[in-house]
Symmetry: C2
């Protein structure tokens, strides 16, 4: 082969490469948009056999429930019932959960908070507030069951909670609506005198899985919107936003937006803890009540741009950032400066016994990205950035905490309330993902009529520029969520077989029925694929009672296999509950209708699930 | 350039292409597994700005609700409440839906059926059965609201419904559990005599959105498991599977699995319609009851392998296919052969007045793929294939209807009940997707404790070989689903402004309160961002009543903008409902607790949503 031929061949190879580049590159790339989508598609696709890296634990708003998502796939894994009965899991039907819910049929769950140790999510419990009916609940993350619930006296919608202190010493729940104490009747003409804003400080005993109301703080009848707990240097403090410092009693849209400044209230819970321990409180409607007028050195306030929404403490605990809502800016406050002002008694005013710190002395920076409207909440990454949701301009703004410099802005679809970043409320955020929890979906998804889903945006924040990955619909209404690494949550798969458990029966032959007057106690078992209520009876899966009897079905699921849950429904009696592997649950009801009622397993359990049935026979009086 | 150079150049181009092939192909492919995932990821990723191609309308099982998914993204779009109250949408709280639900708090929704015209989904309504409390419900797909509900007398769990005839003339609901008529008490010793299986034949008036119970059929106390309506040549017929032809009254797991053959019952609804029109029925507990012993020529049965589960009519209407459940085979029956046997009165037996057709005369083929265990249900594509779920061997088997030849098998994760194919129940399936609705998830997803989610597999059936695309968790428990093309569903976005609507108020200044004895009627409006209850009052957003008053809040949402839904919660009163854009809803309750109760918008609606509040003041008696 001579040089010319070699050159020709080399030239040909180069030409071939060029041809091939055009050819293959086109084949594999389609166009820019498709290529971009492809890479986004890969980012969220979790193949069969792999797991999502994070749990997202989202409030279900006025559904009253907890929504569990996997991140990055954004697949919804589970609805965990908290404040609302849920026949799908028997919650609110079995005796224990029915008693826990009382007569309540729903709640308005706003802000989940995972228990913390040293300012980091420890993955043991999740706390939930009920704005609708003034309660706080705890979900045990080893079972994902709601294990305790406490009603909060003196309050009107604990919207501004729940936020936990650094080691879950306290769960703070400031009220949203001012009410007279104990919710008593008082004319709105007496608003300033008779109505109060109250903060509940709850504790949670992890061993006994029980709440206690440690104390309450009686504040002026401002509205409290959101709060956060301090971290590290500020760990003894909680901060909360206020609005309606105008004391408006009607048309708040206009009348509660008059003042140029409302307040952030700062509370030192350690000081108050000591006061309470020393008996320095008043008993009000069963609660130990702190009045700021009687307790100096624990409660302060600092002015902030009008009607702020969220307030969030930075991961290092040095600052708290308020989002303006009606003022298009974020205000960075310094805890160090606040402490100095308190130390020096540098107060500009006093309201209801609360010393007011001078704004200019505590404020470190106002961050006002041009055209960014309606800032609501702040989240954080691991590189010193803050991420703010903008409700009105529908975007997330990324900015440097230290300088206020805006780094990037990205649209959301549409009108985000909160956003949740991976490990975003901890001392050590992961900086990988942020999820915008939007209030409006418009036509993002297939239409389901006039009532649209809400929507969520998954945004990759691992790079300098944010990248919008996917929009996902969601049932109403996740107000807030926390995103926690999967390694921190370790659920049990089966309930332990406890031979001494009350009402439990572990062997088929021990199933029996006891009658005590007009009470009928069935000690039964559920197993693939039968119920045994009375081992010695001709029909072990039939129960005959008399009209008017109070019936107790104590059922133990003796299938100690993962994912073998049995349901227990009584046809025509509006009753259903479930027993999970190794669980004992009780259904209590009065058999007030005579007749013949099939009993059946409602949770598909085996190839003979359809045959897993029996009868409740109610003899007429 | 001479020939050799040209040849060299050509050779070089080819060599270059080869180099490039190796080079680019490797770059773009990574490895086989990643490439496979990538392509699956792309198949399910629906970028922002695009919509899913199909709706999947899935039953929510013992949650009582309807789950709406988008296909192929498998994103859950909406929970539509049907049988269970849902505070998130106010369902079961506003007067109309509360009255529709009555005292029931849940249902067990098994099989959705979209209304059909000429055997094709027409996308107007969806019907739902309640196995728990014996009801049938209709969801209007123009609003995705449940618009009617009917209780079915004489039945015990209409599990084997709902299936609609070719033009939605009837909605068939065969019972699962035999009960004495009217559910009355009767000893199980009298099972064969006193207990009955009953089929309800309901009609639905699309204009008035109302059910009617056309007639019922009294059958022997077998259990009826599933049914299907005929198509085209078989459109006058419904078919249904039976089990427990043994009349077992206990331990059905064993006792209802004794007979080698149970039956498929065939009913000619046209003939019975005529009989009913002519008055040939008995009135039983308010229902027009057909007794097979009195009506020849309409009800037949054919033996089938023991304890069949599903029965499905092929898209062309020529055959019905029974799935064996306890017999590892699918049985293909010919309608033509069945009609011939009926025509010739070729009966092998009679049971309860029901002529039994000879199995060998009606059966066309038994399909028994080796090792395929627990066949439950059959779906169809556009190329003459059937797809069967196998509960025990956890797979879907694709086979040719005409020959029984097995074409492909694919694993599911795990234990599929039903599967739903795109347009799979129609005369014209699309052959694009099938979704396996699995009963067991095991460790497919992040663990949420002992109660696992169910799971669904999205499978691409557009090629000769099926391809598993994605596994998705789902709340309990979608038994069945229908997948309908998005072009067939056309929801409204806003309720029409109807000036004459009862209780509606369209202008702020018309909001007012009327008192009639101890009834207080509030004719109010909700708008961004206020409530107006009484335009002339000093505080238009406060309502004062007396303890014991019956209060009616008639609220109209005058924001005629897409996706602007307002909520209406009363703090501490366990009440919440919503008004969608242009909707008027009424909340009725007795103000039985004196005190001060904040009212607030529970559905985030605007930047001033937090200010959208008022007070209910209940003066003590």
């Amino acid at each position: 082969m001579n040089l010319k031929r070699i050159l020709s061949a080399v030239f040909g190879i180069i030409a071939g490469l060029l041809v091939a580049f055009v050819f293959f590159a086109d084949l594999n790339k389609d166009d820019n948009a498709a290529s971009e989508n492809k890479s986004k598609a890969e980012k969220v696709y979790v193949p069969y056999g792999e797991l999502d890296e994070y749990y997202m634990l989202a409030s279900g708003g006025h559904s009253g429930q907890l929504f569990v998502y996997g991140i990055p796939s954004m697949r919804k894994i589970r609805t965990v019932p908290v404040f609302t009965p849920d026949p799908a899991t028997g919650y609110g039907y079995d005796k224990a959960s029915k008693e826990m819910l009382g007569d309540y049929t729903w709640g308005d769950f706003h802000h989940p908070a995972v228990s913390e140790t040293e300012g980091d999510y420890d993955g043991e419990f999740l706390f939930a507030n009920d704005v609708g009916n003034n309660r706080v609940a705890a979900v045990d993350l080893s079972t994902f069951h709601t294990v305790d619930m406490m009603s909060l006296p003196n309050m009107g919608g604990p919207h501004a909670g729940v936020f936990v202190t650094e080691n879950t010493e306290y769960i703070a729940l400031p009220t949203r609506f001012a009410r007279p104490l104990a919710g008593e009747y008082a004319s709105l003409d007496d608003y300033e005198k008779e109505y109060k804003g109250v903060v509940s400080m709850a504790t949670f005993d992890r061993e006994n899985k029980e709440f206690d109301l440690a104390y309450q703080i009686m504040l002026p009848p401002w509205s409290y919107d959101l709060s956060d707990a301090g971290k590290k240097m500020s760990s003894d403090w909680i901060v909360m936003t206020t609005y309606n410092t105008e004391f408006a009693t009607t048309n708040l849209e206009i009348n509660a937006s008059q003042n140029d400044r409302d307040y952030i209230v700062l509370v030192n819970w350690k000081v108050l803890e000591k006061e309470v321990a020393e008996g320095n409180y008043n008993e009000v409607n069963g609660a130990k009540m702190i009045d700021p007028r009687d307790h100096k050195g624990a409660i302060f306030a600092v002015p902030v741009a009008k009607s702020p929404h969220g307030v969030d403490v930075t991961p290092d605990g040095t600052r708290f950032i308020a989002s303006g809502k009606l003022a298009p800016l974020m205000t960075v406050f310094s805890f160090e400066k606040a402490f100095a002002a308190i130390e020096n008694e540098n107060f500009s005013d006093e309201k209801f016994g609360i010393p007011i710190l001078p704004y200019e002395e505590v404020m470190e920076r106002e961050v006002d990205p041009p055209g960014a409207l309606g800032p609501l909440h702040t989240q954080f990454d691991d590189k010193g950035h803050a991420y703010n949701t903008m409700f009105i301009s529908s975007e997330i703004v990324k900015w440097k905490i230290d300088t206020g410099e805006v780094i990037d802005r990205i649209p959301t679809y549409y009108s985000p309330g909160h956003a949740a970043a991976a490990e975003g409320d901890t001392v050590d955020p992961d900086g990988k993902w942020i999820v915008a929890l939007n209030k409006i979906a418009k036509d993002n998804f297939l239409s389901v009529g006039p009532s649209h889903p809400e929507s969520m945006d998954l945004i990759d924040i691992s790079g300098e520029k944010m990248e919008h990955i996917m929009a996902v619909p969601v049932d109403p209404e996740p107000h807030y969520a926390q995103i926690i690494h999967r390694d921190k949550i370790n659920p049990v798969k089966i309930y332990e077989k406890d031979e001494k458990r009350e009402n439990a029966v572990w062997k088929q032959e021990d199933a029996h029925i006891e009658r005590k007057g007009d009470e009928v106690h069935v000690y039964g078992i559920a197993m693939r694929s039968r119920f045994v209520f009375d081992a010695k009876a001709d029909r072990p899966d039939a129960v005959t009672v008399k009209e008017g009897d109070r019936v107790f079905f104590h059922i133990t699921n003796i299938d100690l296999d993962q994912d073998i849950t049995h349901g227990f429904g009584i046809n025509d009696y509006d009753l259903n509950f479930e027993v999970q592997p190794g669980q004992t649950s009780t259904l209590e009801f009065v058999a007030d209708k005579a007749g013949t009622y099939p009993i059946y397993c409602t949770n598909f359990c085996s190839a003979l699930h359809q045959e897993m049935s029996g009868y409740l026979l109610v003899e007429p009086k």
